[in-house]
């Protein structure tokens, strides 16, 4: 199999002819024509690459959130004093900021995760569809986050 043999356009042409490495390798004896990973300092940010790295960031943030979830359950198991202390922290400015951050990360990771699963099942991987679903994930994250917080404050009688 030749790398890029089923691709079209100038990039594929470059892969086939080995021009990708031509510049950096021109002094060396050999030319490699393997496709390269994007070089992040010169790679133009695009919706697709941004949503991809946000999936990783939100996954890491949610991993930290799991530590907090365990603290919450352990506190609840310990009794009212421990539980109330944690709830007091939840109500503080830092506590609310943390919870807000985790809620954004959760809704984003959930929606973009569904996008990933659709891709894995073979749907929506064409570029226009990937852009449309990318915008849908961002807008959906905003809407679900706002809905959750409005409902929570409504529940507490603040709104």
């Amino acid at each position: 199999m030749i790398a890029g043999e089923n691709l079209r356009g100038p990039a594929a042409q470059a892969i086939r002819t080995g021009n990708i490495m031509a510049e950096s390798q021109s002094s060396g004896a050999r030319r490699h024509s393997r496709p390269l990973s994007p070089h992040l300092q010169v790679y133009k940010p695009q919706l697709t690459s941004i949503t991809s790295i946000l999936h990783r960031f939100s996954g890491i943030a949610l991993g930290l959130g799991l530590l907090y979830l365990v603290c919450w359950l352990v506190a609840a198991a310990q009794g009212m004093a421990a539980f109330d202390a944690l709830q007091d922290f939840n109500g503080s400015v830092i506590g609310r900021l943390l919870l807000f951050g985790w809620s954004v990360a959760f809704f984003y990771h959930l929606l973009n995760g569904i996008r990933h699963l659709a891709w894995d099942a073979g749907f929506g991987f064409e570029l226009p569809a990937a852009y449309r679903s990318g915008y849908a994930v961002l807008i959906g994250t905003g809407l679900l986050t706002i809905a959750a917080w409005v409902y929570a404050y409504f529940q507490m009688g603040v709104l």
Binding site: M1, I2, A3, G18, R31, H32, S33, R34, P35, R56, G59, I60, L62, G63, L66, L67, L69, V70, L73, V74, A76, A77, M80, F83, D84, Q87, S103, F106, L110, G113, I114, H116, L117, D120, A148, Y151, A152, Y153, Q155, M156, G157
Partner: protein, 132 residues
């Protein structure tokens, strides 16, 4: 790939070392998707429940936590989410940590933390349900 050295995706060094796949990738990939699929309803249920309990006191929360449905569904959520998070964070460590010793320490620590925290969560849940 045979005969097309210049276009092969494996480097000459990789080829000479003869280190190939450990044949664990598919299971990892599949388990990550399976847990993700399970987490769509489970995590939504949990987050929606917590949002609906905003401002609730200890009595209300522990009452909710000790209902049989909550114990069952939350146990499943905990198992799925820790499995999913450990698989995901393992890849993050493998991608960014290149020192052999540090990588090993982090990967072992991740596994221990995942199992330990999941156990702490489930034991807490049982304590609330049966001893609370």
């Amino acid at each position: 790939m045979a005969g097309r050295d210049e276009n092969a995706l494996r480097s000459h060094l990789g080829r000479a070392r003869g280190l190939g796949s450990a044949h664990e990738g598919l299971h990892h990939w599949w388990a990550q998707r399976l847990t993700a699929l399970a987490l769509i309803p489970l995590s939504l249920w949990f987050v929606a429940s917590v949002v609906c309990m905003a401002g609730a006191d200890y009595a209300a929360v522990s009452q909710w936590l000790s209902q049989p449905f909550t114990v069952g569904a939350l146990s499943l959520t905990i198992l799925a989410v820790f499995y999913h998070a450990v698989l995901g964070l393992q890849v993050v460590i493998e991608d960014y940590i290149h020192g052999k010793a540090l990588k090993l320490v982090l990967l072992v620590g991740l596994q221990f933390a995942g199992f330990g925290l999941a156990a702490a969560a489930i034991v807490s849940l049982l304590v609330i349900a049966f001893a609370g």
